[in-house]
Amino acid sequence: MSQSTAGKIDHHNEEEHHDTSSIKIFGFWIFLISDLILFSVLFATYVVLRTRYSGGPTGAELFEVPIFVAETFILLTSSFTSGLATLGLQQGKVKTVINWLIVTVVLGIAFVGLEVTEFITLVEEGATISTSAFLSAFYVLVGTHGLHVSAGIIWMISTIFQLSRYGITEETNRKTQVVSLYWHFLDVVWIFIFTVVYLLGVM
């Protein structure tokens, strides 16, 4: 795990060595915070438009408890498993890291799959994005989160690929840490969707 990327001169020859990894992770945190603002605007939109049903269905009529509860627990678990992957990182066990990442990806796919089925059912019931402002806000808030998760899945797969190819290097170590940060963040956002959209919706 101490090997540096192929073809590079030893890093510590350099006079002023800024710790690249920690700077990149710091930047990623800042990005996450700005992404948090992005979601907060979507939440605000949902809160402002949540009663504008325009004669269409309400949240209580649409949301199915088993589905969103399942989604929630799947995502919670995947956040845990992606955490275990970073734990493997510290112990320097590539296999462990890759395995836990694969579990996470599978859970992520299950989550997205459930969400897509949920959307399809809704659309079949005639509740589309153009039915009412409430539904527009619902689809865009939940859908944006879903897109984030999907992007995370692709990203994680590409990280798995790199891990299996290069092992744990400074680069792959950082990339794994970052993707797992991202995953935890999406879990946090989902908790608020679960609370604000679904729980308050069926209340």
């Binding site: 795990m1 540096s4 992770i25 603002i37 605000a44 908790i191 729980l199 209340m203």
Partner: protein
């Protein structure tokens, strides 16, 4: 580089499990409360929002390694400002749009 990496991380399996259990419990409580209509509206609202906020803290504390991050000072500051802005965006919009 080896030594450096090792001092940087010292989260353990245990802390992940603790975090995971916490988050499960914090999900189940509001779920049960809501599905069984156990509490009056304003109180229920407060409790489930609080549970969500707690989860946020749990994730950051147990999963996102904020404790061990070299830049945690800046990050915590940025998070605080971020939360202020989030509250302003959501609360402010709701207030302003409530003609």
């Amino acid at each position: 580089m080896t030594t450096e990496k090792h001092t940087e991380h010292h989260s353990s399996f245990q802390s992940y499990v603790t975090g995971f259990l916490f988050s499960i419990v914090l999900t189940i409580i509001p779920l049960v409360l809501v599905l069984n209509d156990m509490l009056e509206n304003p109180l229920l609202l407060v409790i489930i929002l609080l549970a969500a906020c707690f989860q946020f803290v749990i994730q950051i504390y147990y999963f996102m390694h904020l404790r061990e991050n070299k830049n945690r000072g800046y990050i915590v500051l940025a998070l605080i400002v971020g939360i202020i802005i989030v509250v302003t965006v959501v609360g402010g919009s709701a207030w302003v749009m409530n003609f």
